[in-house]
Structures are given as structure tokens and as C-alpha cells.
Amino acid sequence: MTTDARNQYEGLPGDFAIWIFILAEMLAFGVLFVAYAFARAHDVALFNASQETLNRTFGAINTMVLITSSYFVVRAVNAIKCDLSRDCAWWLGMAWLLGAVFISIKCVEFYDKFSAGITLSTNSFYMFYLALTFFHFMHVLMGMIILAVVIVKARRGGYSSRDHTGVETAASFWHMVDLLWIILFPLIYVIR
């Protein structure tokens, strides 16, 4: 069989297709990050003033939430490598819960902005802020769906130390969501 992705593609964790997907997603976000930076250069004062209205504490908490949930996912992968299905499902479940925390905090932020009458058309800063964080938000949701599927299978003992590509695929996607936020947070909330 030539379908064993691991042997074929330099031992990348998880399914090879997810890596193509990750690279494509990172490219899309990368272009948006750079576009934000150059759009800001056109109107620094406006961007700085608008940035002041963001809640940096929420942003920092969310960074830590994602980093921690990424760490939990690492623990889950390590657990399944030792054939500990229950531990694996537990760690993934904790990671999923942190994803839910992220989503909740983000919703509070969105609610704040929308109730202040801010929309995509308010100004360039808010357009980028809302668009970038919303796209990222959708990725967190998608990651949670993927995690949920893997959790269900892991609980049924569907993975083992020999066959856990599914866990690694979900893990890789989840880490990407983290990776993107690691750039997004300083860019949108901190640097001025």
C-alpha cells in the first residue's frame, strides 16, 4: 500500500492532506496580516486610536487559553502513543473546553464592539480587526468540531499507539489555530 501517509511524506504528524491545508491557511492569513500592516502605514493615527478601544487583557487571556489547550493536545498525543485511550480523550476534552472558553471571551468582545455600533465599514482598523478575528474564530470552531469527532472515537478506543493518525491530524490543525493567534495577538492588540 502506498497510502501510508507517514512513510511517504517524511513522517509528518497526521494526514499529509492536513499539512497542505495548514500551509494554504497560513498563507491566506499571512497575506491578511501583511495587508493589515501596510493599511496601517497609511493611517497610523486612526489605527492607534482604534486599537486603544480593544480589550488587551481579553486578548492576552485568549492567547494563554489557546497555548494551554495546545499543550493539552500535545499531552493527548503523548497519551495515545502509550496506548492510554482514556487519558487521550480526557486531554482532548480539556483542550476542547478551553476552545469553548476562547469562543466565549471572543463573543463578549464581539458583543462589545457591535453594541458600540462598530461594523466592518466603520474604518479600516475595525474592518481588519473584525475580519481577522472572525476568520480565526471560525477556525477555532472548525478545530473544535474536528476535536469532538476525535474525542468520540478515542473514547471508544478507536486509536492506539500504532494507529493514531486521526489524533495527530486534529492536533496539527489545532496547533495551527494557536500559531496564527500567536501572530494575530501582538499584531492587532499590542504593536503600535
Binding site: P13, F33, V34, N78, I183, I191
Partner: protein, 85 residues
């Protein structure tokens, strides 16, 4: 397990670096030095997540370089755009 202890260590470093970035924002430290520092912190964090959490450390070096290159290019262009004003 030593492996888990290593990842816990990485996690603590990531949290610490996040706090540094946050503190710089709260303290209102601005200027190109601060901007570059924050971008550099993001680069280091990105490398830690990619190499250790994602496990690219065990993969052909091309993949690690790809992620490193991504952070350098994206971060570099951001720095360039911020340097424009």
C-alpha cells in the same frame, strides 16, 4: 515521564513570553525597538509551537524551514510596514 515534563516546560515558557508581550502593551512601551521585540517574541513562540508542539522537530528540515521562513517573511514585512511611518 520526562517527555511530558519537557512539554510542560515549553508551555511555561510560552505563557511567560505571552505575559511579556502583554506587559509591554499595558505599559505602553512603543517605538521600533518595542515593535521588533514583540515580533521576535512571536517568532520564538511560533518556533516552539511548530517544532515541539506540532512535532516538526522529527520531520525533514524543509518543513521547519518553511515555518521559520513564514514567520521571517510575514514578520519582516510587518516590520517593514511599521518602519514606513
Amino acid at each position: 515521564m520526562t517527555r511530558n515534563r519537557f512539554f510542560t516546560f515549553i508551555w511555561i515558557v510560552l505563557v511567560a513570553l505571552t505575559l511579556v508581550t502583554y506587559a509591554m502593551g499595558e505599559a505602553g512601551i512603543i517605538g521600533s525597538g518595542a515593535m521588533l521585540t514583540v515580533l521576535l517574541i512571536a517568532l520564538v513562540k511560533g518556533q516552539m509551537v511548530a517544532n515541539y508542539f506540532m512535532g516538526l522537530w522529527h520531520v525533514a528540515p524543509g518543513w521547519r524551514l518553511l515555518i521559520l521562513g513564514y514567520f521571517l517573511i510575514v514578520g519582516g514585512l510587518i516590520a517593514l510596514a511599521y518602519g514606513l511611518n
